[in-house]
């Protein structure tokens, strides 16, 4: 009995390094390419021509998106956590809505509206004349345009973390500083923001990871960055090695972000050591201040979600031409792929979660934390890292089957959804792992012990206590991975089997063919599903607030 118990724990513990190994394979493949000398020629060529563009544009994007997300995210977080004004409760969760938009979809939408031939400039030309309109013309298909698009949908990361930090401090710090004669504005700049800095930086790093991972927006706007470079090397030159080398250079940026994020997360704990939350500060705003606050919160919601969603709705309902049979096929492909990916991610997360719970070994914990790294790695890099080892395995298999059975098996792994699922798992395991982990955290080890003292065995404890308590977390983890898979463009684009389309890929293809209106329907589907985890997220936020009350 006891032996069996030990054995099953051991099995789970052993699986942790195994899963970590699977997750690490693509990264190692990419990193190694940096040292494989054969295609240095391509890289040398790249560095003489376009590499500086990649670096400059990527740096510009990072700086610009930082600016936009901070300017929107931090003040809105402050307004909704400290003040009370009409609509404040609504904005608390509405400010998260832009998160439902993948950046490339909001880019297609605004391009359709703001392009030279679009309705806005046509109207402008009518009103002010062609010459003045041309002077006023701002091309959205530019680096500033990309910054704006990315910033509009990525600021919620900063908002979310900054708000959590403000809520943690608000009661004690604000009241103390006001009693010491600080105005609220001085409290914001001198106390609130510096204290929330680790949280804000964490949110910012998440937004920047998404920025570096973006392919759809920059490709569509014709901005050359690392991701577009990786694609060009991969497809244009048909040179996976060069793509891998570019990937590993981009990886350096990403690793920097990972370290920043993890470091900040660690300091959050010290900063939050101010004790328990007291009363929530709720300063009522009136008149001009209330209007300004309302506007400041309303604008990001309007431009980041409401307006583009309405445009997409109009296009899909009235303007788009669709072959419904093909569209259903598209939905089926997308959903079953996302379903499988979510299932795998949750399954692995449960194994890792239990391994973490059962094990005291630092090594095991290290492996588990490595398995959670994938979220930071851009989809394009993951794709390159997945394709390289899978193609190698496939070629071995082809040779083996040809020699032994005299049959041609083709590309079993790299040419099938296996490659896609592999990539999704690498990229999204962290998300499911976090959710499952926090769910398991609620089941204290002593609950197991109490149940055992009352005569229950491990399988019964799992069924009667763990399963009911974990259901919600498992479902949340499943949904979030499901939606993220749905939105993931670059990895899907690179790894999909021949003639296999998903909503994201189809939207991208149609947009690339300048059929923006037709791209609206798949885009709308993605966003509609994307709202589900946001509702879940806002629910957990309000629950946390209730619990701490």
């Amino acid at each position: 009995m006891k032996l069996q118990h030990k054995f099953s724990i051991g099995l789970i513990e052993c699986s942790a390094p195994l899963i970590a190994l699977i997750i690490l394979t693509p990264l190692v493949a990419v990193a190694f390419s940096l040292f494989s000398g054969e295609s240095f020629a391509v890289l040398k060529h790249l560095s003489e021509t376009v590499l500086s563009d990649y670096v400059i544009n990527s740096v510009l994007l990072v700086l610009g998106v930082s600016f936009v997300t901070l300017v929107i995210g931090v003040p809105t977080a402050w307004l909704t956590s400290v003040f009370d004004f009409p609509g404040c409760k609504f904005f608390v969760w509405a400010l998260l809505l832009p998160l439902a938009f993948p950046a490339y979809i909001i880019a297609y939408t605004y391009t359709g509206v703001l392009d030279y031939a679009g309705p806005v400039y046509s109207a402008l030309r009518e009103f002010v004349g062609r010459e003045l309109a041309d002077q006023l013309y701002f091309s959205i298909r530019s680096v500033p345009g990309a910054i704006l698009m990315l910033g509009l949908v990525l600021y919620p990361y900063v908002y979310l973390l900054a708000r959590a930090a403000f809520l943690e401090q608000s009661a004690s710090y604000i009241e103390i500083s006001r009693s010491l004669g600080y105005s609220l504005r001085r409290v914001f700049f001198r106390l609130a923001v510096p204290l929330a800095r680790p949280s804000i930086i964490t949110g910012l790093s998440l937004a920047l990871m998404e920025t570096l991972a973006d392919y759809g927006t920059v490709q569509f706007f014709g901005v050359s960055t690392f991701t577009t470079g990786i694609f060009r090397a991969f497809y244009g030159f048909g040179d996976p090695a060069a793509a891998a080398q570019l990937s590993s250079m981009l990886l350096l940026f990403v690793v920097l972000l990972i370290f920043t994020e993890r470091y900040s997360r660690r300091t959050i704990r010290y900063h939050a050591a101010g004790g328990k939350r007291g009363f929530e500060v709720n300063i009522r705003l009136h008149g001009k201040r209330a209007v300004l606050s309302w506007l400041f919160c309303a604008l990001p919601v309007f431009f980041g979600f409401l307006l583009p969603a309405l445009i997409l709705l109009k296009w899909s309902l009235f303007d788009a031409q669709w072959n419904w049979a093909r569209f259903l096929q598209l939905i089926w492909n997308t959903f079953y792929l996302a379903f499988l990916a979510a299932l795998i991610a949750v399954f692995f997360a449960v194994i890792l979660g239990y391994a973490k719970r059962a094990s005291r070994s630092k090594l095991i914990h290290g492996f588990i934390s490595i398995s959670g790294m994938g979220y930071a790695i851009p989809g394009a890099i993951v794709a390159v890292g997945v394709i390289v080892p899978l193609v190698w395995i496939d070629h071995q298999m082809i040779r083996l089957f040809a020699a032994v059975f005299d049959m041609d098996v083709g590309l079993i792994l790299s040419g099938s959804v296996v490659a896609l699922l592999f990539a999704y798992t690498v990229r999204f395991l962290a998300i499911s792992l976090n959710t499952v982990d926090s769910g398991l955290g609620k089941i204290k080890p002593n609950m197991d012990n109490a149940a055992r003292c009352l005569g229950y065995r491990a399988p019964e404890i799992l069924r009667k206590i763990h399963l009911p308590l974990m259901k919600a977390s498992l479902l949340t983890a499943f949904l979030i991975v499901f939606v993220d898979t749905l939105k993931e463009l670059p990895a899907t684009l690179m790894l999909r089997p021949f003639d296999f389309n998903t909503l994201a890929v189809r939207a991208f293809e149609l947009a690339s063919d300048e059929r923006l209106v037709d791209a609206a329907l798949p885009s709308l589907m993605i966003i509609a599903t994307g709202i589900i985890p946001i509702i879940l997220l806002s629910k957990t936020i309000s629950q946390e607030i209730q619990v701490s009350d």
């Binding site: 609620k442 012990n449 109490a450 003292c453 229950y456």
Partner: protein, 368 residues
């Protein structure tokens, strides 16, 4: 099994050691708890008391020694009966109520194999004696800390275990609640004829609930005795200072049965074998020194605390040593004032300076 196996102790530890990676958390523990007795183990945090309890519950494997329950070996280095098969309940410090089950369902959790009628009767009975009638259908999170702790205890004793283990079961409660709940729990355990062992760092709690108390330090049980004897006849300095208040004051042996101290001559039994001129330390509890305005022994008040029914003074004696003394509630003296002290020593507890071996002696035969 044993000679007096007619009524074997409910729990018996024989030379039990528990440890990990060569470090032992519990060393050579040997205690016995009689049927229907309540025991308590007190000690500072990290002394190994929780590990000892977890080992009794079957969560840890001993390095050496054995645990017998009702005379039957339950744990030995070779064989450990799993917690779920021991019939020993355990209650934990953190509230471990199952959040998805109602109060009744939580209490009934261990009542498997009972008929529905028996089960609901048992649950109703427990709700009643724990003062939780009407709470049955509520969810754990809607209860206060004290109520949740009652439910946890009701759940632990519901299956009528032979023995229930309470791991810091009352530590998360505030002092007032603890004060009322602990004697209540003692009454319920006695009523239900369930033996129990409580682990705690608070000797007041241990004294309030237990028939027999063990004091633990660095993995060793220093003394396993009735609360009265733990307090009045502590076996060593650690117990003397950890359990209850008091100060150690130097004294010198005049002959084999008397000691000379700042409080005059103290008489001890000659069995102890005092050598003339030997220096020892005598334990003075607050009630061993009373305040008396007429006394010629003076002490300067260093700190005072008003306890309502009496004052508690920390005083500095003429030779620089400190002592604690009790004073009548109306004798309000200032810090810095010199007050008269009258020894009221019923029995002398003293420790020899090497510390390794210590002795005690009661002058008057005690009545407990």
């Amino acid at each position: 099994m044993t000679a007096n196996s007619e009524n074997p102790p409910i729990l018996e530890l024989n030379g039990l050691s528990v440890g990990l990676d060569g470090r032992s958390f519990v060393a050579d523990a040997s205690i016995a708890l009689k049927q229907d007795e309540i025991g308590a183990i007190v000690g500072p945090s990290g002394c190994g008391k929780s590990t000892l309890l977890r080992c009794i519950a079957g969560f840890e494997t001993p390095l050496s020694g054995e645990i017998r329950v009702n005379g039957k070996v339950c744990s030995s280095p070779q064989h450990v009966i799993a917690p779920e098969n021991r019939g020993i309940s355990m209650m934990f410090q953190d509230l471990t109520l199952f959040p998805h089950l109602s109060i009744s369902e939580n209490i009934a959790f261990g009542l498997r194999g009972w008929s529905p009628a028996e089960r609901s009767e048992r649950v109703d009975h427990l709700l009643d004696i724990f003062g939780l009638s009407g709470f049955g259908n509520r969810q754990p999170h809607s209860l206060s800390g004290g109520e949740q702790q009652r439910v946890a205890l009701a759940r632990a004793i519901a299956p009528q275990p032979r023995l229930v283990l309470l791991d810091e079961a009352f530590s998360s409660l505030d002092a007032g609640l603890r004060h009322t709940l602990v004697p209540e729990v003692r009454d319920i355990l006695k009523q239900e004829k369930i033996s129990a062992i409580l682990v705690t760092h608070d000797h007041h709690e241990a004294f309030a609930i237990a028939d027999v108390v063990g004091v633990m330090k660095k993995g060793r049980i220093q003394q396993w005795d009735a609360p009265y004897r733990i307090y009045h006849s502590p076996r060593n300095r650690f117990i003397a200072t950890f359990v209850g208040e008091g100060e150690l004051i130097h004294a010198t042996a005049v002959d084999k049965n008397s000691l000379d101290s700042v409080f005059g001559e103290l008489t001890v039994h000659d069995e102890v074998g005092l050598q003339k001129g030997e220096r020892v330390e005598v334990l003075f509890r607050p009630d061993d020194i009373l305040h008396d305005d007429d006394s010629h022994i003076l002490g300067e008040v260093v700190r005072k605390s008003f306890r309502g029914s009496h004052f508690h003074y920390l005083v500095k004696l003429s030779d620089g040593q400190h002592a604690v003394c009790l004073a009548d509630s109306h004798h309000n003296h200032h810090v810095g004032e010199k007050i008269g002290l009258q020894p009221n020593v019923r029995h002398v507890v003293f420790f020899r300076p090497d510390g390794s071996e210590s002795s005690y002696y009661r002058r008057n035969s005690e009545s407990s």
